[in-house]
């Protein structure tokens, strides 16, 4: 086709206006925002002709841009947090956000666990905090339009520094409570210093019925010999368009486990950009996605083995009911010097009913000759033999299906080290299945 310049969509025009009117009010030095927005605006919303968004056409999906929400009143915030349920049973230090704003009153800064420091981002941006220079640890994430939008609009968040072992999990709880659609852009930076360890829980909830548009970025810099356990739950409302990014730069001899469980949002896209920056590091990125109705769930993953002798394991499980659409795009990059890399990526999808679809794109990009990399992708329905086996033993069909789906997703959940969090995730799967039958 000849060169065509795409017309700006109303949403793109609205984004330009939103940025123009918001840029002076947003905290901090506007330069990096302006630069990010310029980069975004040069290409506009990504569409199906943009390879990374081939299966999630944001140009078509994002029709109207919701307004960014003002900070809630104390009462509103209290009510919103009282209704929050995700991973509620897990004992953790609560770091709550309502409508994209950090609820600093809810955190007792004087009684933080040992080795933990928390700095509110809006304030840090306004004052030019020294940690700000550590934002954007994965350079190539800057090319991503979703990430660029977050950089342009990020209004609040926190920066966390973990200086040593932290026993109590830190729970980043994001709640959006508004009856009409609002947009949020939060940024969290977690710096885990050499030898430190932390468990990070991250949950996202919003009210049903409104087209909320959260765009969240969590960035982590994990130093050498660190241990990071990250559990993320998407329990957004049924109309939400949820975009999220995890960008992590991980040092040597570290252990980094991250799982994302998606059960909510009309459209969701979770992007993981991981850069292994030191030798002998073990990375695990898992995903468990449950889709029904006409939901669209996208898991996109890029892992760069930036150092030799690293191991990465990626396991993504997707269950698709009704007419939902699942997407998995994974890419492992092994540059020349990353010899002895051991990378394994697997995506498995279950289609429970006629009408659903799954798009898998597991990619490998390899330049080193002494490595082991493998990827696999499967897609199909529940094994009839297994179903028959269970039904022959008296289980009704739905129950048998539920059992098999639980086992299927369970494979991705079993690596969650925190027992209470794992139990809660299993509970999430169970209630999703219950709602189905």
């Amino acid at each position: 086709m000849a060169d065509v310049t795409l017309m700006k969509t109303p949403a793109e025009t609205a984004l330009v206006q939103a940025f123009e009117s918001a840029k002076t009010a947003l905290p901090g030095n506007g330069e990096s925002r302006a630069q990010a927005f310029e980069q975004f605006n040069a290409r506009g919303l990504p569409h199906r002709r943009v390879e990374e968004f081939k299966y999630t056409d944001l140009r078509a999906l994002l029709r109207e841009v919701a307004p960014f929400a003002a900070a809630p009143s104390a009462d509103e915030a209290k009510a919103a947090l009282a209704g929050a349920k995700a991973l509620a049973g897990v004992e953790a230090l609560q770091v709550p956000f309502v409508n994209g704003h950090f609820m600093r009153e809810a955190v007792d800064f004087h009684a933080l666990p040992e080795n933990l420091e928390i700095v509110p981002l809006a304030e840090a941006l306004a004052n030019g905090h020294e940690w700000l220079s550590r934002l954007s640890p994965v350079p190539w994430a800057n090319d991503n339009p979703v990430y660029q939008l977050n950089t342009s609009f990020m209004a609040d968040g926190v920066m966390i520094r973990v200086a040593g072992p932290v026993e109590t999990p830190v729970h980043l709880r994001f709640v959006t409570a508004a009856s009409s659609a609002i947009a949020t852009a939060t940024r969290v930076l977690v710096v885990v210093e050499e030898g430190a360890s932390v468990t990070l829980l991250e949950t996202h909830e919003s009210t049903d019925g409104a087209n909320h548009q959260p765009n969240d970025v969590v960035e982590m810099i994990a130093g050498d010999r660190t241990n990071v356990q990250h559990v993320r739950v998407n329990a957004e409302g049924d109309k939400a368009l949820a975009l999220s990014t995890l960008a992590a730069k991980i040092g040597g001899e570290a252990v980094f486990n991250s799982i994302n469980v998606t059960a909510g949002a009309a459209t969701s896209r979770h992007q993981v950009f991981a850069l292994l920056n030191g030798e002998n590091t073990h990375l695990r990125v898992n995903g468990a996605t449950m889709l029904k109705g006409s939901q669209h769930g996208d898991s996109t993953l890029v892992v760069e083995h930036g150092a030799p002798h690293c191991e990465s394991r990626e396991l993504f499980k997707t269950v698709i009911d009704n007419e939902a659409t699942g997407v998995f795009q994974g890419k492992i990059i092994v540059p020349h010097h990353a010899q002895k890399t051991d990378g394994r990526m697997m995506s498995a999808a279950l289609l429970l009913e006629e009408g659903g679809s799954m798009n898998n794109k597991p990619e490998l990009e390899i330049f080193a000759d002494d490595v082991q990399c493998a990827h696999g992708a499967t897609c199909g329905q529940l094994d009839e033999d297994l179903l028959f086996y269970l039904m022959a033993r008296g289980l009704p069909k739905k129950e048998a299906e539920s059992l098999l789906v639980q086992a299927f997703l369970g494979e991705a959940l079993e690596f969650v080290e925190n027992d209470a969090a794992r139990e809660a995730l299993v509970g999430t799967v169970e209630s999703w299945l219950k709602a189905r039958s």
């Binding site: 086709m1 000849a2 020349h336 010097h337 429970l352 390899i366 990399c373 990827h375 897609c379």
Partner: protein
């Protein structure tokens, strides 16, 4: 695991500086004016004595092509091609349409002799294995210079002739099928081909006929500054079977030459087509100078129930390969297969793979792809497997392995797996090794070292893939058989 020494040696044997077919034949050629225009298309059409509809078809394609943009999504990079700096037609001046072999320029005959392609029927008959006969259509630049065994094939009802001849002799058949698998507007290179294609083979196998011998076309680019635009159309009518082979070579030159072919296969009910390629175009020198740009659109349509199309390819040549032999599995129970070994050396760039598009019920497909990258080459597997809403019971199995030799090259895998049907079962894997421990144990217990055992087992597997190529046609392929894929990465 790094590559084993044996593999390294084998790949070295077919390295770019070992290219054996780089000689040039001095033949006086007649060429079209340089560049591309409606006049050049009219010139080609007139040279071929084509009917008016064919000319119109070409001109429509040309108009469309002018509005198209060269695709840039493949993982290859090259300087922009100046499409007006190419001769689109070049034919031997002396008797461009020889009636018999005696009329063919002896220089050209010598060329084929040197390449080891038998053009004389009696020679073939006097061969060691008379039962292994191969009918050859020899295409030299833009024209077919000889087609063997035509009469004998005609007795069986098989039509095997240059496509330019078929357009004149069987216009209805050609018109019915040409462009029905790869539409004129399919992609940049296919549209270009539709406008300027010069020769290629036409095959029609009537209902219920098993083609009595292998059919093959040997493509040779000889002239400087020319592009070759072959067009092949194979129709297997109900219940028929044909095995078709294609080979290609070109002289060593510093310039890049364009080869933009279109191959269309049509298999009706219960028909089977096996299409094999040994692609050995000049790959350029060690510094990446010269070599063929091989931008090819190959697609098979399993139009009928229970039809089968198999693509087998051994790719060792070309500076740049951009090629995705595909199967449209339209008929219920139809089957598509793709077996590929792609070896890249020097500065070669390969972006190749397949598409299996499941439309009909209970359609099955299988993809086995082995990529070996050495030198400073880039080797990419790019494949699509898709099941549409109505493709109930579709099944696919994909296995693509790649192997790197040295750390200056790259091997990439870009699979797309799209399922819109819950009953479709797709499995894709790209694992280090599929060798079972039992087999290894069996061999090692009998005294083979681990490496020998691996080589043996893998060779057995690769041989399986290559079995479908007649060996006399594929010297290069034989060498590849002994390549061990131990140490392959996904």
């Amino acid at each position: 695991m790094p590559a084993v020494q044996e593999t390294i040696d084998q790949v070295r044997l077919i390295d770019v500086d070992q290219y054996k077919y780089g000689f040039e034949t001095e033949v006086e050629m007649e060429k079209s004016p340089k560049g591309l225009s409606e006049d050049v298309i009219r010139f080609i059409s007139a040279k071929k004595g084509e009917p008016e509809w064919m000319l119109q078809w070409r001109l429509d394609a040309y108009k469309r092509w002018l509005t198209m943009k060269e695709p840039d999504w493949a993982r290859v990079s090259y300087d922009k091609i100046d499409y007006n700096d190419i001769y689109y037609y070049a034919a031997p001046k002396k008797n461009p349409a020889p009636k018999s072999l005696d009329e063919v320029d002896p220089e050209i005959l010598k060329t084929y002799e040197k390449l080891g392609i038998p053009l004389r029927e009696q020679e073939i008959l006097a061969g060691v294995e008379p039962e292994r006969r191969v009918a050859v259509d020899a295409v030299f630049d833009s024209v077919s210079v000889a087609t063997t065994f035509k009469e004998e094939l005609a007795k069986a009802g098989v039509i095997f002739m240059p496509i330019s001849e078929a357009i004149r002799e069987y216009p209805d058949l050609v018109r019915q099928y040409l462009g029905s698998v790869v539409p004129v507007t399919d992609n940049f290179f296919a549209t270009l081909n539709s406008a300027v294609f010069t020769d290629g083979s036409f095959v029609y196998i009537p209902p219920g006929v098993r083609c009595p011998m292998e059919l093959s076309t040997y493509f040779r680019i000889n002239e400087k500054n020319t592009g070759q635009f072959e067009r092949t159309l194979i129709i297997a009518d109900k219940g028929s079977y044909v095995s078709y082979l294609e080979g290609c070579t070109a002289p060593k030159r510093d310039e890049n030459q364009l080869h933009a072919a279109v191959v269309e296969l049509i298999a009706l009910d219960d028909a089977e087509i096996k299409y094999s390629t040994v692609q050995n175009w000049y790959p350029g020198d060690a510094e990446g100078r010269g070599g063929i740009y091989n931008f090819v659109t190959k697609r098979g349509d399993c139009r009928g129930r229970n039809s089968v199309i198999t693509w087998t390819q051994v790719e060792t040549g070309s500076a740049i390969t951009w090629k995705y032999p595909s199967c449209i599995l339209r008929g219920d129970n139809s089957r598509g297969e793709f077996y590929s070994i792609a070896v890249s050396n020097g500065m070669q760039q390969v972006d190749s793979g397949t598409k299996m598009i499941h439309l009909g019920k209970n359609t099955t497909s299988r993809i086995i792809s082995k990529g070996i990258a050495a030198g400073r080459s880039e080797n990419t597997y790019r494949g699509l497997v898709s099941a549409h809403r109505k493709a109930t019971g579709a099944r696919n199995f994909t296995n693509c392995d790649s192997l790197l030799i040295g750390n200056q090259c790259g091997a990439h895998t870009v699979p797309y797996i799209e399922s819109k049907n819950a009953t479709a079962v797709f499995e894709h894997e790209a694992t280090t090794s599929k060798i079972s421990e039992d087999q290894m144990f069996y061999c090692q217990q009998r005294g083979l070292s681990e490496e020998e055992a691996t080589a043996l087992i893998v060779n057995g597997f690769v041989k399986d893939v290559l079995q479908q190529l007649p060996m006399e046609f594929a010297v290069e392929a034989q060498k590849l058989i002994s390549i061990s894929l131990e140490g392959s990465v996904g």
